[in-house]
């Protein structure tokens, strides 16, 4: 192409571009219609997808949701959105929305009335309860349900039916982070907020493809780095991803072998003088399985993790580990961000502990720009399930079923006898679906999630879903799970209900009801309420006429807790762009950093004590003693299913930018399907050559749990010996091949590592 040619072309196009600009046509997708026509009402809300919690404006015209745009006043995203959110209105209006209840009759789901469907569920559940006890029933919810919805489920199952078999899909993604925060810092959820991003000098992205899984966070990191070239980014991931675009250093561990790297980094930090001795002395205790140890013991423990030893275990060159540690040590402030790469592991809690260690021993915590910050996958995993108590050992508002005082307090608010709430935790997710397989659980209510596709080793659990009495409340139909349902209840979708979502950064945000539910769809919280009434708990559920009543009752339970939400009334939440707890009173602005000056709990209860002891932080959470955080000595441990000669490849899974979870929502936007229409397997080029696999060829992945055919994408992304498959597609449900081994502490399954092999189809 000649120079002259380029120039002419250049002039022509720029002329064309300025012409388009001149007539003032805004070409933002989804906004076009709204901009060109009057009468569109914009409603402040929150994105329905990931845990970032971006503020959106919902465009409604004549009772129909017509477009979505970013909320410029929301500090999370400043008006920016990722491509998924733009097409949310297509999910609202999709043909796959379910408009009426359905009951399985003669093997087929047929349309029914609400009356018939709820009567059937209530009768069946009561029969089961009478014959087999409350523990023969179970609830399986979602980090996408609103806090109010999970609250209703908790009351019905734990408070009325009397079973703690209440779980939710955050068990599959956040449980290890919860375990990590509790055991290391004494309380769940991060110390700081997103605003630390713009103050950080170093980012350590461990097991997170931030660019695709948390796009707006990535954008904030990228902007910050562009403006501040001294900002450095270190990535720890067995796969090169779009996040690498900004990386200064990338460590490629073999999947499941990274624990040694964190320990080796800690060793380098201490050996080279980057440790904050004063912070260590005043704020930390060292522990191993035997209990509290001294700092010397910790140092001795680390001697087993020299960078060279870590190299042998993980495959990451010692020099790179040292480099990463030095970058971490030298930077004045550092933020570690992680997600499923650390959480979905047989030793997910340990991985979390070891990340916290790095921040604790260097004092890079509790200062602006430094934090050990877990990224959440779902929009309300933090708010509804971790805070709302949607797991088998929890009660709403950071209360525990094992504590008598907690049971009594919650039971009183619920208006049920304290003896209704069982003192023993119920079954965790995998145990619950195993019990469903075995018939120990005979009835299950599934809300807003698709376990038939998303459970690890999914096929194994289809048996129970098929054989037992399964109720699915869903906005979309069909899904893999509705295939097994005995009753399907049409749930109102986002924009058709009000409620609160709590995102990654402890921020609770209000979502308004903008349009009426489609067809006969009903709000999940009302379905549960009405089911409760039909099951005989008329009195217990009589008062819940609005979402606000539910929220206020829940809010009351958080009073005086570390996650105090008393100041977050609906009135207030409707006006502001979310509030970050603790927010004890209606005039409190919300908290930036916990456990230190500015945190209302710290200020009122611990500041004086801390001052006396010469400390800047006081870890006051339920699991911390004397206000101290814990540095855990966690050894290396192999993944549950190491690769071997039979299955020589490590299979790992993840998200793509354009799709989300099991695609019930993103699959409704042709634009997103166009961008990534099918599943595929990424194979390292060297592995591909060794197996004579060509790009685009059909291959079969085999694990000990089954086999599945994929198109090969030969690409220099996964490290040699590793293959990657995105998990969204119903016709290629890769989770069927994943292992269901789980972390003994958090009970979170090891989705991220399974032994596999590949052959040509």
């Amino acid at each position: 192409m000649s120079k002259k040619y380029t120039r002419r072309e250049f002039i022509k196009t720029s002329a064309a571009a300025s012409a388009a600009a001149g007539i003032g046509v805004s070409l933002f997708p989804g906004m076009t219609f709204a901009n060109q026509s009057g009468g569109t009402n914009w409603h402040k809300s929150v994105c329905r997808y990931c845990g970032v919690g971006c503020g959106v404006m919902i465009g409604e015209k004549a009772g129909k949701i017509i477009s979505i745009k970013g909320d410029e006043l929301n500090t999370v995203n400043n008006g920016h959105l990722c491509v998924k959110a733009f097409y949310l209105h297509k999910a609202v209006n999709s043909k796959t929305r379910l408009h009426h209840p359905m009951i399985r009759k003669n093997g087929k789901l047929v349309k029914s009335s609400w009356e018939e469907a709820l009567d059937l569920v209530a009768t069946k559940f009561n029969e089961i309860r009478k014959a087999n006890g409350g523990n023969a029933l179970a609830f399986y919810g979602s980090g996408q349900g609103e806090t109010e919805e999970t609250y209703m489920a908790n009351k019905l199952f734990k408070g009325c039916i009397g079973t703690n078999n209440v779980e939710g899909n955050p068990r599959l993604c956040m449980a290890s982070a919860v375990g990590g925060y509790l055991s290391s810092l004494g309380a769940d959820e991060p110390v700081g907020l997103y605003e630390d991003i713009e103050k950080a000098e170093l980012f350590f992205l461990a097991g997170s493809n931030t660019a695709e899984a948390h796009p707006i966070i990535f954008e904030r990191i990228m902007r910050h780095k562009t403006r501040n070239p001294n900002v450095k980014i270190v990535i720890l991931d067995p796969r090169k991803t779009p996040t690498d675009q900004v990386a200064d250093l990338h460590l490629f561990p073999k999947p499941g072998y990274d624990l040694a790297i964190f320990n080796a980094m800690a060793k380098v930090l201490i050996d080279e003088g980057y440790a904050d001795d004063d912070f260590i002395a005043k704020h930390l205790v060292m522990k191993n399985g035997d209990g509290v140890q001294d700092f010397e013991t910790y140092k001795k423990f680390l001697n087993d993790y020299t960078p060279e030893i870590a190299e042998k275990i993980s495959g990451v060159p010692a020099q790179d580990i040292i480099k990463a540690a030095r970058m971490f040590g030298k930077a004045k402030t550092a933020m570690t961000l992680w997600t499923m790469g650390l959480n979905q592991r047989k030793r997910g809690v340990w991985a979390n502990n070891l990340v916290h260690n790095l921040h604790l021993i260097t004092g890079k915590i509790g200062v602006p720009g430094s934090d050990s910050f877990s990224l959440t996958g779902q929009p309300n995993a933090c708010g509804g399930v971790r805070e709302g108590g949607g797991l088998c050992h929890l009660l709403p508002g950071h209360h525990l079923v094992v504590k008598e005082a907690h049971r009594a307090k919650v039971a009183k608010v619920w208006g049920v006898p304290a003896s209704n709430i069982q003192p023993k935790p119920g079954k965790h997710t995998i145990a619950m679906f195993s019990a469903l397989n075995e018939g120990e659980i005979k009835g299950m209510y599934i809300m807003c999630t698709n376990p038939a596709q998303s459970l690890p080793n999914a096929k194994k659990y289809w048996k129970g879903l098929k054989e037992q009495f399964v109720v699915v409340a869903e906005s979309f139909y069909p899904t893999m799970t509705t295939e097994y349902a005995d009753v399907v209840l049409p749930a109102a979708f986002w924009t058709e209900k009000e409620g609160v979502y709590g995102c990654t950064e402890r921020r609770s945000q209000y979502m308004p009801l903008v349009v009426a539910p489609q067809g006969q769809a009903k709000w999940d919280a009302f379905i549960l309420r009405d089911l409760g009434k039909k099951m005989g708990f008329e009195k217990e559920f009589a008062k819940y006429e609005t979402a606000e009543i539910m929220w206020d009752e829940y809010r009351g339970l958080t009073k005086g807790k570390d996650m105090n939400l008393m100041g977050a009334s609906y009135d207030r939440l409707k006006k502001v762009r979310g509030l970050t707890w603790p927010v004890p009173t209606e005039d409190h602005p919300g908290t930036y950093k916990r456990f230190m000056a500015g945190d209302p709990i710290y200020d009122s209860k611990f500041a004086e004590l801390a001052k006396k002891e010469g400390r800047r932080m006081y870890f006051y959470g339920p699991k911390a003693k004397d206000g101290k955080a814990t540095v855990w000595m966690r050894p290396h441990d192999d993944p549950a299913e190491p690769t071997d000669s039979e299955y020589p490849l490590a299979l790992t899974t993840g998200r793509v930018l354009e799709h989300w979870h099991t695609m019930t929502m993103t699959g409704t936007a042709p634009e997103l399907n166009r961008a990534v229409p099918n599943a595929y397997v990424e194979i390292n080029p060297i592995d591909a050559r060794n197996m004579s696999i060509k790009n685009k060829e059909q291959v079969v992945i085999e694990t000990r749990r089954g086999s599945m055919q994929f198109e090969a994408r030969v690409i220099d992304r996964p490290v040699q010996g590793t293959i990657f498959v995105p998990w969204h597609w119903e016709n290629k449900p890769i989770n069927v091949l994943c292992i269901d081994a789980f972390d003994p502490g958090s009970k979170e399954p090891e989705y991220k590592v399974a032994a596999a092999r590949i052959r040509k189809a």
Binding site: M1, Y5, T6, E9, K12, T13, A16, A17, A21, V25, L27, F28, P29, G30, T32, G70, G79, H80, L81, C82, V83, F86, Y87, A211, P215, I216, F218, E219, M222, R223, K225, T226, P242, Q245, V246, V656, L657, E658, A669, P670, E671, L672, N673, R674, A675, V676, P677, N678, P685, I686, A688, R689, K694, N695, K696, E711, R713, V714, I715, D716
Partner: protein, 190 residues
Amino acid sequence: MNNSISRREFFSSFVANARGSFASEKTEKQTTQNVVFPPGAQNYLENCNQCNDCISVCPHEAIRVFHGDDEQFAGYPVIEPRTQACYFCEDFPCIESCDTGALVKTKNIKLGLAEIIENNCLPYNGHICRSCVNNCPFPEQAIYCDAEGKPVVNENICNGCGVCVQVCPSDKIGIRIKFMEEKICLSQVS
């Protein structure tokens, strides 16, 4: 990645993936702006006699008869990347099938060059998208994200295959393939 696999091998990528029925998506009318000529086009409008052989041999149905309003292109086999991008088959059956000299095998075949339409492209308007970059079949990335996350075309690598156009999820397409041939370029833009 460099030489781990041949570029060509890699190139026969994602296109098939990206095929699908986009029934509910509004399709754009064909114009001289959104189509390109098949691989190896030489003085195409003069040489091609519209025998349609290339159309019948294309294994991926990428070549179709132009059916837009523009008379200049009427009846000619063209590729409309939004519907189906070119695979750049190893053996170019389309060129093999052509005996008029309209399609000729040369060393470095390019259909055109990708060009971002900044008014439409999401990242140029402050949002997050990288579908074109993620799907670019060139391991060396004929299109990449700059420091602000905006896609930028590397004209030295890009061969105008059109995968980026096919996958772009913006409802106003954020990218197009502009012709290489100067003459056509003029008619395309004017």
